[in-house]
């Protein structure tokens, strides 16, 4: 895996999230790299959390399926965490 791949996968999640939400300016993706995997921590505006999770979690599951395919191509595991603001 190269640094380039890592940057592009976090951009992929960022771009998908921006297209799904009403407040794209609030979308943030933080990358937590470990040796064996990379966790992409997605934060969106509180009113958009439901849009990235979807009914019965289907949207989040779809994004994870896409990440699964990308992980296979890049021989490195990417996982998605959706952060819910506690306030």
């Amino acid at each position: 895996m190269t640094q380039m791949d890592m940057l592009s996968v976090d951009d992929l999640v960022r771009e998908i999230a921006k297209a799904l939400v009403d407040a794209p300016e609030a979308v943030e993706v933080e990358t937590v790299s470990r040796e064996e995997n990379t966790v992409l921590r997605l934060r969106v505006a509180p009113q958009d959390v439901g849009k990235v999770i979807g009914k019965q979690g289907r949207t989040a599951r779809s994004v994870r399926t896409i990440l699964g395919a990308v992980s296979m191509k890049m021989h490195h595991r990417y996982t998605l965490d959706i952060l819910e603001e506690e306030d």
């Binding site: 992929l12 799904l20 009914k55 019965q56 949207t59 599951r61 779809s62 994004v63 896409i66």
Partner: protein, 196 residues
């Protein structure tokens, strides 16, 4: 309102797929076209157009593995990006390697096998949980059969279809078979034909 601006919707889907291809490193290409709504659609709008997204390329087999999980995921995200209501999901259709037509054939065969089981046993038969599109395809297949009828039971992800002998929906429905990731095709659904 269904896809008021088809051109704009196609552009949004293209942007999404370009990101998946460019940033995700998947070797795929796609073609987006518009067509009239299929006759079996529940959408009551003769003017409505469907966006068809045909995906090909060296990585296309990844899309159709595991019962088309990745293909469905891309389609689902596209529907969400377009803000389509679940009742309008027929307005976007993703396909790769003729997956949907092959799936339709599998579903037709699974329906015939299940109908035979119900005729032979006189008891209801439960399918594993499936999505609304596949349940509808099954319902349509059973609609053409005079001696059985089908109903959906359960909620959400667990919703499944039960086939009853005609007029015997009072019979207790069996618990659905646990879903296999591959869906009907991999579940041995065709096994019933061996008994013929």
């Amino acid at each position: 309102m269904p896809l008021a601006n088809l051109q704009q919707a196609a552009q949004q889907v293209a942007n999404f797929l370009n990101n998946v291809i460019r940033l995700g490193g998947l070797r795929l290409k796609y073609r987006i076209s518009a067509s009239a709504l299929p006759a079996d659609s529940l959408i009551d709008d003769s003017e409505a157009q469907v966006l068809n997204v045909e995906i090909a390329g060296p990585d296309a087999p990844m899309l159709t593995q595991r019962g088309g999980e990745l293909l469905r995921s891309l389609e689902h995200i596209a529907l969400q990006i377009l803000r389509l209501d679940p009742r309008e999901h027929d307005l976007v259709s993703f396909d790769a390697l003729n997956f949907k037509a092959l799936r339709a054939q599998e579903i037709q065969m699974a329906a015939e096998t299940a109908a035979n089981k119900v005729r032979e046993s006189g008891q209801p038969y439960a399918f594993p949980p499936s999505n609304s599109r596949e349940r509808r395809m099954l319902h349509l297949a059973f609609k053409d059969m005079e001696d059985v009828e089908s109903h959906s039971l359960g909620e959400g992800q667990e919703r499944y279809l039960v086939v009853y002998p005609k007029g015997k929906t009072h019979l207790p429905a069996p618990t659905p078979t646990m879903p296999s990731r591959g869906g009907y095709g991999d579940r041995g659904g065709r096994g019933g034909f061996r008994r013929r």
